[in-house]
Structures are given as C-alpha cells and as structure tokens.
C-alpha cells in the first residue's frame, strides 16, 4: 500500500512518537487569510485542513457555515484560493476539504489536478461516503492526492475496515454523531471508534468534530493519533482574532499534546484498552 504526499509525513510524525495536530481554516475568510496558514505552521501543525467554501455546507455547524458565507461574500472561489495557496512555500502538508458539488463542477480528475498544481496533498469530502467515492478516489490516486475518508460511530465494523483500507492520508474519525462544532465534552463513542478503526489498520486516525480545549485534545489522543481543530479556530477568526492570536491558541494545544505524549510514553498507563480500570 503506497503512502502519498499527505500520509507519508503524517505516518513519520506519528511513528516518531508525536500526536498529530491539524488545524482548519476556511480559505478566503479574510483578506490576509493565508497568514493563518503561516501561523498554523509556525505553531507546529502537522497538516492544515483548508476549507474551500461552499454555499450550502449542510453537514457543518453554524460556525463553519458562517465562515463559508463570509468567504463567499468576499468573492472567494475554490480556484482563487488554490492560486493563493500555490504561491505559498509551506512545509506543512495541506488538505483541502469541500463538498462534492465543487469537485463535480470541475470533474474529479480536473479538480484533483488543480489541487496537485497548488501543492495540496490531500482532500476531504464529507458528503462523499465510501460508496460514492470510487470515481474521485481513482482520480485522486492518479494525481497523487490523498483522498481522506471519514468514519463515524454508526459505521459497522466491516465497513469501518474498508474505510480504513481505502482511505489515504489518514482516517478522519468523526468523534460524535453530529455536525462540526465545539462541544463541552467529548463523547464516549470517540474513543471506541478510534479503537475500532485501529483494529484492522495502522493508518493514522485523526479525531474531529467538537474538539477545542487542550484537555479535549489530550483526552482525544489517548487513543487517536491526532486531532482536527476547526470550529474553535473559526469562531476566533470570525470574532476578529489575528493569525498571531490563533497561533498562540494552537501553540497551547501543541504544547499540551507534546507534554501528554511524553507523559503517556514514560511510563505507559495501564488502561490502554477500553473497559479496564477507570
């Protein structure tokens, strides 16, 4: 099984004992939005999820929806965003995320080529489940873009195994049954889901949806290889946070993850399996 432009660095970091941190930003959200990408990189992001805004982000929560609307109102387009990205020299892999309608507009092959030209390493399409992903998966593979598949607590084991097998880059584990958005507590199913994915695959597993505090990130990475931070960042940006502010926030998360990493490895805690000691 080949590992691509996205998966190789993530595996390398994970295997090097690091917990992975993937912050998200909606492309085009502010005039100087690429500053957020730089700040993310500086804060120690292992990959960056780059949202290509869609008019009807029906699977996102209110915050991402608001951010998408704002970016589109500014005139953001997928190709415009990719053009800006192409000029950046980031040493952190970028993962585009968008809805399938934008992919279909260009056609899967052309869309993937555009990503590749912009230097984007991976792609997440939340409204494209396994069953409908064939054409895009082929096009992505042909272009060298890693198509990340999502897994949810409701996914049966057999299907989960197939998702883990066919996903590239990492497996995006949806921590709770719901849409994107900050949540006070991480749901129980998140840990169980991570375990279940890992049963048949050693592909990196990143947990998303609802993670915003260092504590949550640490909690999440007890089982998962890393976390995706989206809504918490976009809420700050929509409230006016500059790249430096968001960078500081991410630095805090990075530090908590790294610290926890050290702590949990020496000595390893005994309860690495669900259902043993509290």
């Amino acid at each position: 099984m080949s590992t691509g432009l996205l998966e190789s660095p993530l595996r390398a970091r994970r295997d090097g004992g690091h917990k992975l941190l993937m912050p998200y930003v909606t492309g085009g959200i502010t005039p100087g939005w690429t500053g957020y990408l730089r700040a993310f990189a500086a804060a120690g992001a292992d990959a960056i999820e780059l949202g290509l805004p869609f008019s009807d982000p029906t699977l996102d929560g209110a915050t991402i929806q608001e951010a998408s609307d704002a970016a589109l109102a500014r005139g953001a387009t997928a190709h415009g965003i990719l053009a800006e990205v192409a000029e950046l020299r980031l040493d952190v892999p970028l993962v585009a995320s968008t809805y399938y309608n934008l992919v279909l507009r260009d056609g899967p092959a052309e869309f993937c080529r555009a990503l590749r030209r912009a230097g984007v390493a991976g792609l997440i399409v939340p409204d494209l489940p396994l069953d409908e992903a064939g054409e895009l998966a082929d096009a992505a593979a042909a272009t060298g873009v890693d198509l990340v598949l999502l897994a949810s607590p409701a996914t049966p084991q057999r299907r989960l195994d197939e998702i883990a097998r066919r996903s590239r880059g990492f497996v995006y584990a949806v921590s709770v049954m719901g849409t994107t958005g900050e949540r006070a507590a991480l749901a129980e199913p998140a840990a169980a889901l991570t375990e279940r994915i890992k049963q048949g695959s050693d592909r990196p597993v990143l947990l998303g949806f609802g993670i915003s505090t260092p504590e949550q990130a640490v909690e999440a990475t007890r089982r998962a290889d890393g976390v995706v931070i989206g809504t918490a960042i976009m809420r700050r940006i929509l409230d006016g946070a500059a790249p430096d502010d968001v960078g500081a926030y991410l630095t805090g998360l990075r530090r908590a993850l790294d610290q926890e990493c050290d702590e949990t490895r020496w000595p390893a805690t005994p309860d690495t399996r669900r259902g043993t000691a509290p």
């Binding site: 009807d56 399938y100 309608n101 279909l104 409908e132 409701a154 996914t155 949806v174």
Partner: protein, 378 residues
Amino acid sequence: GRFGEYGGLYVPESLVAACREVEAAFREARTDPAFRESLAESLALHVGRPTPLTPARRLSAELGVTLLLKREDLAHTGSHKINNVLGQALLALRMGRTRLIAETGAGQHGVAVATAAALLGLPATVFMGERDVERQGLNVFRMRMLGTEVVPVGTGSRTLKDATSEAMRHWVADTEEAYYCVGSVIGPNPYPWMVREFQRVIGDEAREQCAGALPAAVPDYVVACVGGGSNAAGTFAGFVGTSARLIGVEAEGGAGAARGSLGVLHGFRSLFLQDDHGQITEAHSIAAGLDYPGVGPEHAHLRDLGRARYVTVSDEEVVDAAVRLARAEGIVPALESAHAVAWVIRAARTGELPPGATVLLTLSGRGDKDISTLKELV
C-alpha cells in the same frame, strides 16, 4: 436508488447506516400486504382518497382541449404532501422509531408531518428557518396545535436551507430513535425512490380514472408542476409506461430540470441551479413550494431520456392562470399547481397543444395558503 447517473447517497458517513436502514425497512414494507393495507386504509379514511378527477369543462371549452384535473387539493391538509408523509410515518412506526423529524419551508410539509404524527401518536419536531417562522405564523401555529414542536432556526439565511441543515444535524445525533421524514423526491437514497412510490397513488388513480373518462383511455399529455417534483413523480409513475407525453412545469426562477446543471446537494446527485464556481444559486418563485434550486434525480433522468419534458412559466403567467382557473372552474389552486395550468393555457394558445388534445393535470394543492400573496397581486 439510482436514476441513470442521478440519485445516490451523498451523506456524511454518520448517516449512511441510517439511510440504509430506512431503505431496508421500506423494501420490506412495500411488499408486506399488512403494511400496504394499513397505508391504503389510512389514505382512504384520513386523506379522503381516491381524489376525484374533475373535468375542467369551462376552461377546456375556452382552450379547445379536454382538460382533466387530478384533485390533490381535496386531500386532507390541502395537498398531495400527506400521501408521502403518511407512508413514511407508518414506516417509522414499523421501524420502531419513536419520533419524527422534518424541516419545512412555507410549512405545508410540516403541517402534513404534524398531522401524521398526531394521527399515529408520534412526537414530531419540525425545523423551520426563523424568517419562515415569521412569515408563516399560521402554519407554525397549526403545527403546534397538532402537538408538534416547531424549532426556529436562526443560522445562515434563516430559511429552508438552514432548517434542513438543522434537521440533519438532529437526525445524525439521534438516528436510533428519530425518523427523518423528507418531503419531496429529493435527498439521499432511498428517499427519492420511496417518496415517488408513496406518491404514485396519484398516478395510479389518475390512470384508472382516465381510462373511464377518456375514449382513448390515456391522455395525450400529463402535466404537473415540479419543485423537488414529488407530485409530478407520483403522477408520471402512473403514465410513464403509456404513450402520454409527460410535461413537468417549473418556475422560471427555480428551473432545476430545465436549466440546472449536474451537482450534488442535500444528499443526491441531480441537476441544480449553480454559478460557474459550483455555488448553488437561490431559487425564486412566487410559489414557496417551487422555490428549490434543484430537482429530484428521477426528473433529471427522465429529462435525459427524453421521456419527460421540462418547461418553465413566469410568475405573471402563474397568477393569471390561478385567476383563470378560479373563475372558470371554482377552484383556487395553489400557486405551485397554477404553474401546470399556466403551461396548458400557453400551450393551447401557441398551438403546442393541438386542438382537441386530452390533458391530465395534477392539481397538487389548494390555494388557501396563497390567498394573501394573490391578494397583493391581483
């Protein structure tokens, strides 16, 4: 679940299992005589089916054609929506689901859901954009009077789109207990197919009634309005195997089938109004029920096959048609349904409908809900 290249299941992974369960349950139910009988009984006793096929005698004489109206406006709650909702509510009960979830725009689907929920003793939650809640206060109250919880949605444009997002969000969070009741032949598989099957009672009845009413048994034309397209899909289902020409009439500002291009939204692949960048554009129609930027996947497929033709009429033609039908036949149609009437009037005038042609038109709903709108225009 596929209609040519259209349809499919474009939902987040969290909903795949739930959609599959609905599909499995529906496949089983539709061949179960007990389920079929229970639905048929409910359609007869609660909805008042069969609805009549009314010859529009005076308008026919004016137009020089034979126009027959399939009277879904006489169905309980005032439109064909209840046919589908009752079917799905019975399915939810069969699946052991304990509550219904739905979104609504103008409120017609929401009222139908509230009605079915009351009838079956299921609690229901209907999501509705805050702006729609303000504009459609009476329908909101109607739902609440029927015991349904109406949740105003304050995100985004605070209309149908956002209500849909919120409904899906709630469904995702409670797929074990909640049943998501889609209101048209849209959404992920199995909805477009299932809703058409629940609506085909329109076409099946009309086919049989036409056999009794027309010397040729089958009309030359079968006409219905298309937003998402459920009344048209149900009507066409009865005639797709005949020689009748099928005409779907869309709003000029919401012509997914006539002017849309390939896309994916709300869980299905079909034709949508969108800009060059793939952003969905807003639909505009005087009829709230046609104010949808896409069209059900089966319609996209029928268009590609050339089996159905999709045409558009303007708001002005629609208002004119509503008044004309009211004055000639004593029926104030829903503005949605008036689209179909408007096309027949225009086609008779231009000769596109040859003199003496026989036309079956599905009058999908009554115009009570549109009286305020019409009052300002006529």
